[in-house]
Amino acid sequence: MLRRVLWLLPTLFLVSLAAFQFFAWTLPPPPQSSPGELPRSAPLPVFVNPHPDNARELALGLMQKVAEGPNERAAAQLAKLGGAALPHILPRLDQLSPTARGRVALALKPLALRMGIATQLELSDPDSASLFWTRFWQDRELDFRPIVVRRLVKRLTERSLALRRDDVIQLDTYALPELVKALGRVRDRTDVERVRRLGLLLAHITQKDWRLAPNPSLSDARRLVSTWQAWWLSEGPNYVALDGISKAIATVTQTRYGRWLRGLPAGFGMREDAAALSGSLGRATLLTLTLLASGAFGGYLLGAAAAVVGASLRGRVPRFLGFCACLGVSVPCLVPALNAGGKGGVFAACCLMLGFGYGAAYLYQRAATLTRRGAPWWPAAPIAGRRVLPVLGESAAACLGLLAGGLPALFVAATVLETAFDLPGLGQSTVHAVRRGDAEWLMASALVLSALTALLQTLSDSVAAALGYRPSVGSGRAALEGLG
């Protein structure tokens, strides 16, 4: 049992890899670049990215394009890349010809205005702009270091002063990693105030209109933090220079799987429909689990008991029980065919799930029980009352196998019944996700269903070992107990 539980995490990891590959294979790929954002060199690979995005290479590439000749698009992208590009561009300005240097310096004019370090007049012509940036780098080179940014952002989160704010603004996008990290978690009003301060700076630097309204609530602040974190997860790699280990790590993290994995701690908080989901997810899960439990525990138990009782009888009773079982396994056909259902009706849906579970368990259990009919322990009298349990105990191996492997079939039946009775369960949400191609939801449902299957298997094996059906499981346990 302990071994099974310990295997659960590695299993879920392997299942996540396989399921992600399946969804990558069958769903349309996400767009290469988001509109209005910096360009991505290539579409994100699924698992390994040999050429991860990098501020250094992006900056040098854009500088090259701007230097070669008038290129407004590249100039705008260079200005958007902002402060993160300066440590890579400015030291190389001297290596360019005067004309190219002038073009690059002029392309950086919107950046200088955003940073508040120059006026239109100072950057009016190529020569003065080149001179300005050369002097800027001589004066401020030491500020463009991670440790300086960390200290400045830390001071800003503690107390906001105009001077501290200006210091961070003058680093522009170079300060983005620390600013996003400083957003942190929102627990109380102090955190809301911090998010408001940092949000204003982030909005100014990225030229986005994501700010808190006056008198924000805790949930407003949390939503804003989620929005920034989602944006950073998607666009952040363009603003960070990679070297050594960080480049090696980025070959894995800058992939579709890596991005999904990094977004996992936030759950569904980064989605646009996060607010609607947070209200309904718990209720939907409970509803679907109730339906599955009705089929798996109620239905299977009822079917197994009925099969044992029916196996010792002849005539109409076993025939009637068999007819009910065939009716039960046909529930996913009968409900759409007869257009059964209506509004609400959780109880009716649970009863039908019970019928479905009953049908499958009855047919398997009857076959397994009939094969035992000639055994010496088989009671001479009809099996009823107290005699049901011992006979069930001798022949329930099939039903326990069904408990371990019957979840996918139960999920289909639950989804049909949720649709028929208009119940907002996980099955319906999964169907919507398939229709929308929502890989995030499908991955979450895959992991939940896989974990549920693993738990049902563990439960089934434990009961089977306890009843002596599975000598291999039982002997493993005995060996472990012998060690203790």
Binding site: C326, P336, A404, S450, A464
Partner: protein, 212 residues
């Protein structure tokens, strides 16, 4: 798509799923029961992966790449096969610990021969029932795909059931009748297997005499 075409497609999907399901169940179930350990873990992991991709997710997505009847047959065959493999494994393990099996081994019968003669007959009825249950499963899943709006009905036969009305009720009724008839036939077959020939009767007598 007309009725006969839909019927043929569903029949083809069902037959394909039965073949794949029985094959998967037979191979994985037997190997897991007889070898255990790594092979049992393989069955377990396969089941967990199949559980991660329920039929209502796997079929519409895979159906974008493969023809729908093939997709239905493969996905449903694998799902049903893995579920059946669990039942088969449990039943084989249980039967292989019975007294008359131990007695047969003690009398010098080889492991494979004991398995074929004395263990397999206990688990074969489950395979027959599992094969039979593939039919309502195929029709049910095809109907469910149409019913929940994941298929426009142009590619699978079960949509006739999902369309409701007289034709839908007739389709569902046909599935029910098919189930009842074949279930009755399988029960008679089980009876015949159990009555069996002289060898099986001798096995039962071993147990009755307390040979173990």
């Amino acid at each position: 798509m007309n009725t006969s075409e839909a019927f043929v497609r569903t029949l083809a999907s069902s037959l394909g799923a039965i073949v794949i399901g029985v094959l998967v169940a037979f191979v994985l179930g037997t190997v897991a029961a007889r070898r255990g350990g790594l092979y049992d873990d393989l069955l377990r992991r396969s089941l967990e992966f199949a559980g991660a991709l329920p039929t209502l997710v796997a079929i519409p997505l895979l159906g974008r790449l493969w023809p729908m009847p093939v997709t239905c047959a493969v996905v449903l065959g694998i799902h049903q096969g893995l579920c059946l493999a669990c039942l088969f494994r449990n039943e084989l393990e249980h039967a292989s610990a019975e007294g008359f099996v131990v007695a047969a081994r003690a009398l010098g019968l080889g492991a494979s021969r004991t398995h074929q003669r004395h263990v397999l007959p206990f688990a074969l009825p489950l395979i027959l029932i599992g094969g039979l249950l593939v039919v309502p499963k195929v029709v049910g899943v095809e109907a469910a795909l149409r019913y929940v709006g994941l298929d426009n009905g142009a590619s699978v036969g079960g949509f006739l059931v999902a369309r409701g009305g007289g034709l839908g009720a007739l389709g569902a009724g046909a599935v029910l009748v098919l189930l009842l008839v074949f279930h009755h036939w399988i029960e008679r077959l089980i009876g015949r297997i159990l009555r069996g020939d002289a060898r099986n009767q001798a096995d039962q007598s071993c147990e009755a005499q307390g040979t173990d």
